[in-house]
């Protein structure tokens, strides 16, 4: 091979291709940007979590339980304090927070602190010294969102239970908490003294008690755990260590960022298709040159080498540009994902991801460029003699390239996805989506051509006909833009359906206001307040907390020790919440046995219960079996009379076990009151009045849940949308490429039309029509498939009914079309402004 000739030609043939070079570099750069940014960010997160792991927990060890820590644990902790370890306690519970000045009330996550928590890291507040002051008086520090909701400000007095506290600051950051928690239940830190002894911690309280321990000698942790692991289980307390917390967060965030990486990978692959189409056009233009070179004695290898080297250099250039852009985006990603991060993430340079990003970008560029580059091997020197001599036959090497392409997609998927299986699914998904987009695009263009009315105005007909000019890129552009739109629209539609599902469940005739923790002696008072405001309580559901004492006479301890039976531990040791009623509810279906109204009355001593199918399986019980319950010290025996299937996905109060009425009448219980209040203001007033009269009662407004859900889905989709934007940008680059590719033809057509007497405005309109048609094709293709994909996802994956959000979808489609028209018209300006003669002279024959 004449290397010198080849290298000379590589440089010379790059002349006048600046515009194309930018497009080519852009197409590959965007995907590489996403990959380098996301993978570097992933490493940053892992590193930050590792570095700040002790702050995630704020201590070396957390011991917690539902309800008060057992005496055994308290004794243990006391002995540890005596030995020099430091201990801090936090009681967490859901409680109404009420501000007198504004009348605002809202369910909050109250955390009552005693001691020097956190031992590691800092809880950041505004003002900065609020945390150190917290335990010096009747003070509270709240999430800013809570203050917004309550229309309160620092300095106001809040009422929590019977306690009245001054808000002395707001929370900025709590290490180990993700910001989304504030959306679910805004946090309020208070000193433990002020709520101890209040009704909040009384009977049936759902408080969680935790002890945080900083060991004098951190190395003592493992021996300590080895010694106490079994006993903690026995005492029904759970524990968490720094290492476990670190692993949990790392696992979750690694998955999250790897999934985002997959979306980035799509941008890269889309960029690849952009490159394939750009190289295709480029090679077409180079056919005469290659034919001439072949006549002059260049071998096919030399001719191919020229353009292969060009593609390599451009792929390398694009990858390097993308990799460095990625470093910039990497610094920005923590903002996009702020709501999911338990630690502050600082950006570091990760050479390995920079290098793999460049490598993958280059390889992708080459694999996608290879297919069109193969054409060069088929260009006969005869083409120099006959302009109509087309490259003939198909290159068997294309199977090699197609194979390499498939292997690349699968390999990249496996490399980026959390697991091998997910990687393969991703590759399969890409294949299916790609094929579907291509097929739909083909069908739509065919249908446009076939069915477009010939009676349409000339300008419209000419504009649409332009889509089918020889060597057009219509299908490629439709696929590229359609793909970007497809991604964004699918994400949006799925999110809307998930939210809509809750709106349906919460709307219509179902209760939207829940009062819980109502004590039996308070029930009448609560109902009176409802009545006084003209609100009709819908349902009054008693709640009874209970633990299993024995099954068919065998104690839980004996059951757990029985090594001949394989079973989970948690169903036997957990705390259950039962109710009793005489009818079944909508979300329940009886699958075995009979409901009480049909069955003969049981003996007085044994209460009949209906059990949920899955928990029956876990407990290994069936109809006729006896379970004895411990309800705050009192033993009550029950017999399983029926088995139910429960639809847990529905927004409703569901129970593992339902007792027949009468059996638990005298047991300690609280009551949940459900009501429907349409009017927002009235709903606020009901909450305020109930909380003012009964501070221990918590009220939940369903619209608050909706907001929380919206916030969670919003954060999740914002992150995905951010990366999906790269795909749309890639689509636009492919469009720019197509506009550039058809520039000569367009110029020639415009000159011809102007010679034939077309006015400039007419040509302008033709161009606009062409791009409106192109944008509409892409939008219909991407939008149509997005409807299909979101329907399947909603129906089969999330199991919610599908509703088409036509408005937002149309807005997206309109936006994509507008961008297409804008890019197309701007790219075609020269066809309008250049004088015909200048154009004719410049154009090759």
């Amino acid at each position: 091979m004449k290397l010198r000739f080849v290298l000379n030609m590589v440089v010379r043939e790059a002349r006048g291709t600046r515009r194309r070079l930018v497009l080519y570099v852009g197409a590959i750069a965007l995907g590489v940007t996403a990959l380098v940014a996301i993978n570097s960010f992933r490493a940053d997160v892992a590193r930050s979590i590792r570095e700040q792991s002790r702050t995630l927990l704020g201590a070396d060890l957390e011991i917690r339980s539902r309800g008060e820590l057992p005496d055994s644990v308290t004794a243990l902790i006391d002995s540890m304090v005596a030995a020099g370890d430091r201990v801090s306690r936090i009681i967490s519970l859901g409680s109404m927070v009420y501000v007198d000045r504004t009348g605002g009330s809202r369910l909050g996550q109250v955390r009552a602190v005693r001691g020097a928590f956190p031992f590691y890291g800092q809880i950041e507040t505004q003002p900065a010294n609020a945390w150190s002051r917290l335990q010096s008086g009747a003070y509270a520090i709240a999430d800013p969102t809570l203050l917004v909701y309550l229309e309160a400000r620092v300095g106001d007095t809040v009422q929590i239970g019977d306690a009245r506290l001054e808000i002395i600051g707001t929370l900025t950051r709590v290490p180990g908490d993700i910001a989304l928690e504030a959306a679910i239940g805004p946090r309020v830190y208070v000193p433990a003294e002020v709520i101890e002894g209040t009704s909040l911690l009384g009977q049936g309280s759902r408080a969680r008690h935790a002890a945080y321990i900083a060991l004098q000698d951190p190395d003592a942790l493992q021996p300590f755990l080895n010694a106490y692991n079994a006993r903690f289980e026995e005492w029904n307390v759970r524990y968490d260590t720094v290492a476990e917390r670190e692993e949990d967060f790392t696992t979750v965030l690694d998955r999250l960022s790897r999934f985002l990486g997959l979306v980035g990978l799509m941008a890269l692959l889309l960029g690849g298709t952009g490159i394939a189409s750009a190289v295709h056009v480029y090679v077409r233009e180079k056919i005469p040159t290659v034919a001439t070179l072949r006549c002059l004695g260049a071998t096919t290898k030399e001719a191919s080498a020229i353009y292969l080297i060009q593609a390599t250099l451009m792929g390398l250039g694009g990858s390097v540009v993308g990799a460095f852009l990625g470093l910039a985006v990497q610094r920005w990603l923590p903002n996009v994902l702020a709501n999911f991060l338990p630690v502050s993430v600082s950006a570091h340079f990760h050479a390995e991801f920079l290098a793999t990003g460049i490598g993958i970008g280059l390889w992708t560029a080459l694999v996608f460029a290879a297919l069109p580059l193969l054409t060069i091997r088929r260009i006969s020197p005869l083409r120099a003699l006959r302009a109509d001599h087309e490259p003939t036959g198909r290159d068997p090497a294309r199977w090699l390239v197609i194979g390499a392409l498939l292997v690349t997609v699968v390999w990249l998927g496996i490399w980026q996805a959390p697991t091998r299986l997910e990687g393969m699914l991703f590759a399969a998904g890409v294949a299916v989506t790609g094929t579907a987009l291509w097929t739909v695009a083909k069908l739509m263009t065919w249908a446009t051509r076939r069915f477009f009315p010939s009676s349409a105005a000339y300008v419209v007909r000419q504009g649409v006909a332009n889509l089918f000019r020889p060597h057009n890129q219509t299908v490629a552009v439709t696929v590229a833009i359609g793909f970007g739109l497809f991604l964004i629209a699918t994400i949006d539609l799925v999110r809307r359906n998930l939210v809509a599902q809750f709106e349906i469940e919460g709307g219509g005739n179902t209760p939207n206001l829940v009062a819980f923790d109502v004590q039996r002696d308070q029930l009448q008072g609560v109902v009176d307040i409802f009545d006084g405001l003209g609100v009709q309580p819908r349902a009054v559901t008693p709640l009874i907390s209970a633990r299993i004492s024995s099954i068919n006479g065998v104690t839980v301890d004996a059951l757990l020790e029985d090594s001949t039976v394989v079973r989970n531990r948690w169903p036997l040791t957990r705390e259950y919440r039962h109710t009793y009623r005489d009818t079944m509810v909508e979300t329940e279906t009886l699958v075995a046995g009979s409901w009480w109204d049909e069955a003969a009355p049981s003996s007085d001593a044994v209460a009949r219960v209906s059990i949920e199918e899955d928990i029956a399986e876990e407990l290994q019980v069936s109809i006729g079996d006896h379970i004895t319950w411990n309800i705050q010290g009192i033993e009550i025996e029950s017999e399983i009379a029926s088995v139910r299937v429960v639809d847990w996905a529905r927004f409703s109060m569901n129970f593992f076990l339902v007792f027949e009425p009468g059996a638990l009448d005298e047991a300690p219980q609280s009551v949940v009151v459900l009501a429907r209040v349409e009017n927002d203001t009235l709903r606020g007033i009901v909450q305020r009045d109930v909380v003012r009269a009964f501070p221990n009662v918590s009220m939940l407004d369903i619209s608050v849940i909706m907001q929380a859900l919206d916030a969670i889905l919003g954060s999740a989709t914002a992150a995905v949308r951010f990366v999906a934007m790269f795909s749309l940008a890639c689509g636009i680059i492919v469009l720019l490429g197509a506009v550039a590719a058809s520039r000569h033809q367009r110029l020639r057509e415009s000159v011809l039309l102007r010679t034939l007497g077309a006015r400039r405005s007419q040509i302008h309109r033709i161009i606009i029509v062409e791009y409106i048609a192109l944008g509409a094709l892409a939008s219909l293709t991407g939008g149509g498939l997005a409807v299909g994909a979101s329907w399947s996802l909603s129906r089969f994956f999330f199991d919610v009914p599908f509703q088409l959000a036509a408005g937002p979808l149309s807005a997206l489609a309109f936006g994509a079309t507008a961008i297409t028209v804008l890019v197309g018209v701007l790219g075609s300006r020269s066809a309008l402004t250049r004088p015909p003669l200048a154009v004719l002279r410049e154009l090759p024959n």
Binding site: L293, G297, E302
Partner: protein
């Protein structure tokens, strides 16, 4: 010496077999000036392509200086084109991204790698065709006649033994065409090249030593021309 024996070329067009050339046997002596003439579609350009080894015949064989082109690989044929053969095309076929000088240098670079001597020779050739002051112009900046002059310089750059020309005046007006013919004939004589050209142009054919007339893919006459 170019020898064609019993050449035939058939193409498939749709489901029909189209015979473009059949039973062509000719010998072209070194330093000969041969014009191939005939009506459109008579197979002139196809014959030229076969003689130059740009295409492989359906039947028969072509040899150049005793080497059977059919026995060579495509890459070996490219090598022969690089070292022994020059081309002039109807549509000039200058490479649009290359300056006049670079276009002329391409065959040299392909044959032996170029270098300072090659550049010097390329300049001289361009000077010889009257474009000494337009070395750095790109093809679009040159007129048709000028482009064909660059093409002539390129064709002779490598001191080829054989020059194939396909309608070299076909895209030019009469006066410019005539200038190009003069230049072509002069260069041919100076360089002692075998010249095989396809033309419609009677003026050009008249100047050939030998005129081969094709019709319907067969040789209908083969006469010695002027001189």
């Amino acid at each position: 010496m170019i020898v064609a024996e019993n050449l035939g070329q058939t193409y498939t067009s749709g489901d029909r077999m189209l015979s473009v050339l059949s039973e062509i046997s000719i010998e072209i002596a070194p330093e000969a000036f041969v014009a191939i003439v005939g009506p459109s579609g008579s197979g002139k350009t196809t014959l030229l392509g076969l003689l130059a080894g740009l295409d492989t015949p359906s039947s028969g064989r072509v040899s150049i200086d005793g080497t059977d082109l059919g026995s060579l690989t495509e890459e070996q044929r490219a090598q022969i084109r690089a070292t022994m053969i020059g081309f002039v095309f109807q549509a000039f076929q200058l490479i649009p991204t290359l300056t006049a000088l670079e276009n002329v240098l391409v065959p040299v670079e392909l044959a032996n790698g170029g270098g300072r001597d090659a550049t010097k020779r390329a300049r001289e050739l361009l000077d010889r065709v009257g474009l000494g002051d337009r070395l750095d112009h790109y093809p679009t900046q040159l007129s048709g006649g000028e482009q064909q002059r660059v093409a002539l310089a390129r064709a002779f750059a490598n001191e080829p033994k054989i020059l194939f020309a396909d309608e070299p005046t076909g895209n030019l007006d009469a006066a410019t065409g005539s200038d190009i013919i003069d230049l072509l004939v002069q260069l041919n004589e100076e360089q002692r090249t075998t010249l095989v050209l396809v033309t419609h142009d009677p003026a050009l054919a008249d100047r050939a030593h030998r005129v081969i007339t094709l019709a319907g893919g067969r040789v209908t006459s083969d006469t010695d021309g002027a001189e």
